[in-house]
């Protein structure tokens, strides 16, 4: 290559290479063409998707599986707006993603040009930060800042809008290594006085609970959580997004808490006298009715984002800092609390209220997922879509390893699971990757079967097919007198034939006796993607359940005889 000044696009690609980017998930278009052209000569591999939403979720799944930022490249207008759902998904779950969008040339900004959209305006609410670059000289600084902001503190998506004349014109600005962001600070170590206070509160507790969230996954605090739990002698519960930080098969672990958490986890939280949030944000799925949540319990909150303090719950001790660093400072200061009775009580609850499902009378999703856990033993990366299957997967697929559980929690985005698995497989080529999807969610991004097939990614895609939008149907059954509206998924394709149309191996589970054999076959098939459709019973309900807006004590373990009042909480 001659020694000429690089174009903005070439400089951008060089900046991405310097950041260690291996893959860009993208879809081309006019406004982004200079960047796609520069990609031809790059070491970065373009993963061409079939819908920009797929690209956004792939970058997200890649980031959650590896801890490295995922990168998306799309064109202007509708290409960019197709990533908005993905941005929301990443922002709600604090995932580092960089979205690069092509844009019309600068003189046409705001003049309704072809495929122009006010992308920065549209996305203000769903990004951690964003840039509209009007000068190619800003590219190195903006890229470095974007990666820094996306990956530090509370991670999140950052968007860079790139007009075509900026990427096509020359860029002779030097690379930068340092960032100058006076408005951006990241807490690391906790205030020693507050840490000491937290230690005292914990040791005085007779019924403590450690409540672990996504922050523990991000800061890799899981092993510290286990050490703290063992030293203090306290049980552990985790949120949907906290799964995998601390080994869920550990004897002190009571499983997931919250709306569809285990009964014993919720009972422990409802009866505790001290609850410590480790990288968790007291989400409404967890707390139920806030003014009846842990009313008499002392609360400790460890979070890297101080804006979470007092948002839902005002803790007695709030420590701003990295979860792992704070726990490392805390552990030497605690010793065993007086919890023998409490631990015995928690075990009693575990025995008395186990998760259960019927193994006869039709194929059940829970049975399939229970077997999946048996076969993968926590060693596989599991992504899920959104719905009943997601909750059952969370209940039965106990997670043992950090970053092996990937699920859209805050946004609950249908269509997330399959592309996220593709991103995860690319990030973790040596691991088995499964995705668990419902027939509804899978159809939203099923076109990515092509992407998985082209790259021969051995993603195992389990579609739990009940021909219903199951979770909504459950709510209509329980709260709306079974008046079904907008949940009947007639006209589903034969998923096996659909997969085969993409050249993808496909298997079907019809009976409980098929489960082990089929799942094992898929688990061992590594030549390319494999779709497994499980034709489960049409109607089934996820229990336990705490209806939205109900207190933890309002948890129901099985379908009640009378019709229930409509929930008061959100969704």
């Amino acid at each position: 290559m001659e020694n000429r000044v690089p174009t903005g696009a070439e400089k951008l690609i060089q900046c991405l290479e310097r950041e260690g980017v291996e893959y860009i998930f993208g879809y081309s278009g006019g406004a982004a063409m200079p960047i796609f052209d520069a990609l031809v000569d790059s070491s970065i591999e373009l993963i061409l998707v079939r819908h920009e939403q797929g690209a956004a979720h792939m970058a997200d799944g890649y980031a959650r599986a590896t801890g490295k930022p995922g990168v998306v490249l799309v064109t202007s207008g509708p290409g960019a707006t197709n990533t908005v759902t993905g941005l929301l998904t990443s922002q709600m779950d604090s995932v580092p993603v960089i979205v690069l969008t092509g844009q019309t040339i600068t003189p046409m900004l705001g003049k309704d040009g072809f495929q122009e959209a006010d992308v920065t305006g549209i996305t203000y609410a769903v990004v951690k930060h964003s840039y509209l670059l009007k000068d190619a000289a800003d590219i190195p600084r903006a890229t470095r800042e974007a990666f820094h902001i996306a990956t530090t503190g509370r991670p999140g998506p950052v968007l860079i809008d790139l007009p075509k004349d900026v990427t096509q014109g020359p860029c002779d600005a030097p690379f930068v290594d340092d960032v100058d962001l006076p408005g951006y600070t990241v807490p690391t170590h906790g205030d020693p006085a507050l840490v000491r206070q937290a230690a005292e509160v914990l040791m005085n507790a007779k019924r403590p609970v450690l409540y672990v969230g996504h922050g523990a996954v991000i800061s890799q605090a899981g092993k510290a959580v286990i050490r703290l739990a063992e030293k203090l002698r306290a049980p552990i519960v985790n949120t949907l997004l906290g799964k995998g930080a601390a080994d869920e098969t550990h004897p002190l672990h009571l499983g997931m808490l919250g709306m569809h958490g285990t009964a014993y986890a919720n009972k422990a939280v409802d009866h505790c006298d001290c609850i410590m949030a480790i990288g968790a944000r007291w989400d409404d799925r967890i707390t139920g009715k806030l003014d009846e949540f842990c009313v008499d319990a002392a609360k400790i909150h460890i979070d890297v984002d101080p804006a979470e303090f007092g948002k839902m719950v005002t803790a007695d001790v709030a420590i701003a800092g990295d979860a792992r660093l704070v726990l490392e400072e805390l552990i030497p200061q605690v010793s065993a609390a007086d919890t023998d009775e409490w631990l015995a009580q928690c075990e009693q609850w575990r025995k008395r209220y186990p998760l259960k499902y019927a193994k006869q009378g039709g194929l059940r999703a829970q049975h399939v997922l229970d077997k999946l856990h048996e076969i993968t033993q926590g060693d596989a990366v599991i992504t899920t879509d959104v719905g009943q299957h997601q909750m059952w997967a969370a209940q039965f697929c106990l997670s043992t390893t950090n970053r092996h559980w990937i699920s859209s929690g805050g946004a609950g985005t249908m269509g997330f699971g399959f592309p996220a698995a593709i991103g995860a497989q690319l990030g973790c080529p040596d691991k088995k990757v499964w995705t668990v999807c419902g027939d509804g969610g899978f159809q939203m991004t099923q076109a990515e079967l092509a992407t998985a097939a082209i790259h021969k990614l051995p993603v195992k895609c389990l579609v739990i097919n009940n021909n219903f939008l199951g979770m909504v149907r459950q709510w209509q059954e329980l709260f709306f007198e079974n008046r079904l509206s907008g949940v009947d998924l007639v006209g589903n394709p034969d998923f096996v034939k659909l997969a085969q149309a993409y050249g993808v191996k496909a298997l079907r589970i019809r009976r409980p006796s098929d489960i082990e054999r089929i799942l094992t076959e898929a688990q061992e098939y590594d030549e390319g993607p494999c779709l497994v459709v499980a034709e489960v019973v049409k109607e089934d309900n996820v229990f336990p359940m705490i209806p939205a807006g109900a207190p933890l004590s309002g948890m129901i373990i099985e379908k009640p005889k009378e019709q229930m009042a409509k929930p008061t909480g959100s969704t």
């Binding site: 203000y124 609410a125 930060h129 964003s130 509209l132 408005g183 804006a307």
Partner: protein
């Protein structure tokens, strides 16, 4: 909106007409922000308010002493319980260097108002008397109207405005409050 809090008239004064329905400045919160001077910062800040249903009464933004930065003073109304949370969410923005609540801090504050009043004959004398009392200057003197320029604390402006009837006020423009903390404390 509930009926306006009555504002005390200065002693010895006969109001020309009953008070106007302007929200009493003492019910408002004042937040000052030091932000980066870049496109989009204003929108991001405003969105923190709009998302929570917090109404912005006034917003002043202009260059700060340090180049590349701006100062914003926001006067807003809403549930005080959410205010602390909102300050944190403002601080969280990458472009915001700091955000501080000045509602009860020791500070100097001021604001300017321009009031265009319809007045002829006898009315004009009364208007000028009010103006003199509040140290307002007549900046436009026309056949059927005058424009008064008054500056000072927001409550002083509220008081003066309330002395004029709705019929006599043709137009009113307020600059919005700006504040600065006393001595060497940071604004």
């Amino acid at each position: 909106m509930s009926s306006p809090t009555p504002i005390q008239n200065p002693p010895g004064f006969r109001p020309i007409a009953p008070g106007n329905a302007q929200k009493a400045s003492r019910d408002l919160h004042t937040i000052s922000l030091l932000v980066r001077d870049a496109p989009g910062v204003l929108v991001r800040v405003a969105m923190v308010f709009s998302r929570r249903g917090y109404n912005i009464e006034s917003l002043v933004v202009s260059p700060a002493a340090r180049s590349g930065f701006s100062r914003m003073t926001v006067t807003c109304s809403g549930d005080p319980a959410i205010l602390e949370q909102m300050i944190k969410q403002l601080s969280k923005l990458v472009d915001v260097v700091h955000a501080l609540d000045h509602t009860s801090s020791d500070r100097y504050e001021t604001e300017i108002a321009l009031i265009k009043l319809r007045c002829e004959g006898e009315q004009r004398r009364e208007v000028l008397e009010v103006a003199e009392h509040f140290s307002a200057k007549v900046v436009d003197y026309a056949a059927e109207s005058v424009i008064l320029r008054v500056y000072g604390g927001s409550e002083k402006l509220d008081a003066m405005i309330s002395l004029f009837s709705e019929d006599s006020i043709v137009e009113l423009v307020r600059s919005g409050k700006i504040v600065m903390t006393r001595a060497l404390e940071v604004t």
